[in-house]
């Protein structure tokens, strides 16, 4: 059996490739397109290996039981999982087809030319297409992982200009989002949430209910779960407002208003020593913090903080479900149709063959946002109103106040350098809530759905176990590539914190890389070395050196000597196993203490590149999203609930602070794919912090770097 997770679940060529539609290749994948353009990359891989035109390839939207189970579309793994599987599957298929074509055309395989989906015998007019050969072959064979793949020197499709899958439809309003579904007999729905997590429904004004009934609006009440449904969407919007006013809620307890960073360090926690390979140890005792010999070393102790962040999708989450009294069909824009099916079958005690889950695109999710919950909510409503497809949309307020946030983090670092400017010790303790409350098949997935805690037979809130895998969650990217004595890395998984949290793009890596790469700069300063030299003298990994050296060259070439601008850099290899990414930033700070971004320099090594424009978009988009987190964002809350409930109370970056992008992708044809979707975020935060220091002389260690925090840092100095 394959060691590759996708191929061990779906080992046959026919699990991935379908030639049954004449002239079209249909690709099956378990990875979903959430704007990262994975469908384009997969089609390009297949186009390259099989010499079938890109436009003749369709990538299916994942559906349970029809498409491979590749778990979640997450962790920048899509190319390493589905990309690898489809490359090997298409290469295997090509050899099978070529053998049959050689028999048919009566020429040796090596004399066959293949292009436009056809095999041609050199010097004759004879040709045969993949589809004509299909009746004589079977693809029900194992994918051969040792198969010879196309020589990169012969590539004709990858990295060539093309319009991405779905792009023309997006531009002309024809791309079908889940939010646009129109099914026969469909009802629109909205939910009515309590004011905050810890509330129970006390009463509902019965007059309002009877009036709604007269107006043909369904009210679904299941414990403290409330929803309305009707044929006309705007009727539902108004009905939801009326029910909201008619509902009285009892607050069982309030949210803690104590400073989140105090809670992170004082609440009950599980602490783990993180061993080489960035693996938390369940058994090893955490060593004491080393006493530094300050005669021989310079020491710095610093604490870095990030607040709770939202996924903050531009489209509020939606879900659609139809229950016919026996089976349940669900449409979702989440990142994992199979785990969602597991949650639904568990919650409703349904056999697995009675539930189908189909992916339909939605607005970007960036991790575990409200999409899973919205699908589950739609399923609850559908089970109360059998026969009608239910299209449920969350409101902006639902999305902002109920999605599972990315945890706040505190990173405490003590580090030292010796008289030669070499790192002589490093201790990093990181504190955070869980980054994984996604539904996981086999681990009580139903408890992970938010409404499961409000329906009649409410399930207990889940307490996620600490992730113990390398670079799992809170400890992701704590370990660095720099050479140094064995660092003291401690993961603290903190409990009983006020807000619901789960996976937000990069999990703990964003906070940890920000802290690490800020401290690296602080050490470089006392070593009186420039940030490049200091980093490079601690690196042996050649690809890391190449990426940083390239960044150094492009910044030296392009940066003018402008006293007003500050410059900073940050570097990491995501999870120490995916893409290498070095980021440079030039910025200034105006009199109102607002940060203005001028230039962003991005250098990335992501192994072999299939769709360079797609990688560029991921890197630049990752930069901009992370810049937004770093400069503007924090979830505000008080004891009566979430305060950040719209775009005024949760501002994000706008078009007037977008830097000029200078992006360089190091090309490595033939090397394994390295996921690039999340590599930019952590280095971006550090580069901005380091540039801010360069511009102002202030080391701001607590995000967001808004005027309040910058002024506070100035006062502290």
């Amino acid at each position: 059996m394959s060691k590759h997770s996708s191929l061990s679940n779906s080992p046959k060529v026919s699990d991935w490739l379908d030639f049954s539609s004449f002239g079209r290749l249909i690709l099956h994948t378990g990875k979903v397109d959430i704007g990262q353009r994975i469908t384009t990359a997969l089609a390009l891989i297949a186009a390259e290996e099989l010499s079938i035109p890109f436009d003749d390839i369709t990538v299916r939207k994942t559906r349970t039981d029809i498409d491979p189970n590749e778990g979640y579309t997450a962790g920048s793994f899509s190319m390493q999982h589905s990309g690898y599987a489809i490359k090997k599957a298409t290469a295997t298929a090509r050899h099978i087809f070529a053998k049959k074509a050689s028999e048919k055309l009566n020429v040796a395989e090596e004399k066959l030319e293949v292009s436009d989906g056809q095999f041609r015998a050199a010097r004759t007019n004879q040709s045969v297409t993949y589809w004509e050969l299909m009746s004589d072959i079977s693809l029900d064979v194992d994918v051969d992982e040792e198969v010879e793949t196309k020589n990169p020197a012969d590539y004709t499709s990858q990295n060539k200009p093309h319009i991405a899958k779905g792009m023309a439809e997006i531009m002309t309003g024809r791309y079908q989002f889940l939010h646009d579904l129109k099914l026969d007999n469909m009802l629109h729905a909205r939910i009515i949430r309590p004011p905050h997590y810890h509330c129970e429904l006390e009463s509902l004004d019965s007059d309002v209910l009877s009036r709604l009934k007269q107006e043909n609006v369904y009210l679904v009440q299941d414990g403290s779960f409330l929803a309305v449904a009707a044929l006309q969407e705007y009727h539902v919007v108004k009905a939801a407002r009326r029910v909201s006013l008619a509902a009285k809620w009892k607050s069982v307890k309030q949210l803690s208003e104590e400073n989140i960073y105090s809670l992170l360090t004082s609440n009950y926690k599980d602490s783990f020593f993180v061993e080489k390979g960035c693996i938390p140890s369940a058994t090893r005792k955490i060593p004491e913090l080393e006493q530094i010999d300050e005669d021989k070393n310079y020491k710095i102790i610093a604490t870095y903080r990030k607040p709770y962040h939202m996924h903050a999708s531009i489209g509020p989450s939606a879900g659609c479900a139809r229950f016919d009294g026996d089976g349940l069909m669900v449409w979702t824009h989440n990142q994992g149709v199979y785990p969602l099916r597991a949650a639904i079958t568990e919650a409703f005690d349904m056999p697995i063959d009675k539930v189908s889950v189909q992916f339909v695109p939605g607005a970007g999710v960036y991790g575990h946002n409200g999409a899973d919950d919205a699908a589950f909510d739609a399923a609850i409503i559908a089970r109360h109103i059998p026969g009608h497809p239910i299209l449920l949309k969350w409101t902006r307020d639902d999305e902002h106040s109920w999605e599972p946030y990315g945890s706040a983090m505190q990173c405490e670092i003590q580090a030292s350098i010796d008289k030669n400017g070499n790192i002589s010790s490093w201790s990093h303790e990181t504190f955070a809530d869980t980054f994984l409350t996604r539904p996981i098949t086999g681990k009580q997935p139903a408890t992970r759905m938010v409404s499961a805690h409000y329906i009649k037979d409410a399930l207990p809130w889940p307490v996620a176990e600490p992730m113990m895998v390398p670079h799992g969650g809170i400890h992701r990217n704590m370990e660095m590539l720099y050479e140094m004595p064995q660092p003291r890395l401690v993961k603290n998984r903190v409990y009983d914190l006020p807000l619901r949290t789960s996976a937000l793009r990069t999990l703990g890596a964003y906070g940890n890389v920000f802290a690490n790469e800020s401290m690296i700069n602080e050490l470089a300063e006392i070593a009186k070395l420039d940030p490049f030299t200091f980093r490079l003298q601690h690196l042996k990994d050649e690809r890391a050196i190449a990426v940083l050296s390239k960044l150094q060259r492009v910044m030296e070439d392009q940066i003018r000597d402008d006293e007003q601008y500050g410059h900073g850099i940050g570097f990491a290899r995501y999870k120490n196993s995916a893409a290498y990414c070095a980021i440079g930033v030039s910025l200034s700070v105006n009199e109102a203490a607002e940060v203005k971004l001028h230039d962003a320099y991005i250098v990335c090594d992501a192994g072999e590149i299939v769709d360079s424009e797609g990688v560029r978009a991921q890197l630049e988009g990752g930069f901009i999203q992370a810049a937004s987190w770093t400069l503007y964002e924090q979830v505000l809350y008080e004891r009566d609930g979430i305060v950040s409930r719209d775009w005024d109370t949760y501002p994000i970056i706008t078009f007037d602070n977008i830097p000029q992008m200078h992006t360089y992708i190091i090309v490595n044809p033939g090397m394994p794919y390295l996921g690039a979707g999340e590599g930019a975020a952590g280095p971006t935060a550090a580069a901005i912090g380091n540039a801010l220091k360069d511009a102002t002389g202030l080391r701001v260690r607590e995000m967001p770097f808004n005027p309040d925090k910058i002024m506070a840092a100035a006062l502290e100095e």
Partner: protein, 155 residues
């Protein structure tokens, strides 16, 4: 219920709807123009922007009845996947969209800007785009595409 006359993408339509129904629900549900998206229903994010008498206008709050007799354009009206408008074509060639949820509104605003001037200033571009939020971080590619149109590079 109230009868409302609208011109949508050049076609006269008569819609029967509650007088307070915001324009976006009429466009999306009654007329099947689903390009415009509901993002906040607060006029904060720009996902719902369409053109009313050529001006970028949020459609998520104001009632359709307010637009009686007016000329409305949605992203579908500018072109189709086989025959895109200049803005759509350049945006597609530059692969500006990631998830694409905010895109229709931005295409509307940018189209209106270029109808007024072929050479918008940086300030005009920022003012036009600042009504729009994007979460995927497509901003830099959108700005590049707008610059390409401004400089008149051939489609």
């Amino acid at each position: 219920m109230k009868e409302i006359n609208l011109s949508v993408n050049g076609n006269h339509v008569l819609v029967d709807t509650d007088p307070d129904t915001p324009l976006i629900y009429v466009l999306r549900n009654d007329l099947d123009y689903t390009g415009a998206k509901l993002g906040c229903a607060l006029e904060q994010c720009g996902a719902c922007i369409v053109l009313v008498e050529g001006e970028p206008t949020n459609s998520c709050v104001r009632a359709a009845a307010e637009f009686e007799g007016m000329h409305i354009e949605t992203v579908e009206g500018f072109g189709s996947p086989d025959k895109m408008s200049e803005v759509q074509q350049v945006f597609a060639e530059e692969n500006v969209a990631q998830c694409g949820y905010c895109t229709a509104g931005i295409v509307c605003s940018v189209t209106a800007m270029f109808r007024k001037t072929r050479n918008p200033s940086d300030e005009q571009i920022k003012e036009t785009l600042n009504r729009h939020l994007c979460r995927c971080g497509s901003h830099s590619r959108i700005l590049d595409a707008v610059n390409r149109i401004r400089l008149g590079e051939k489609v």
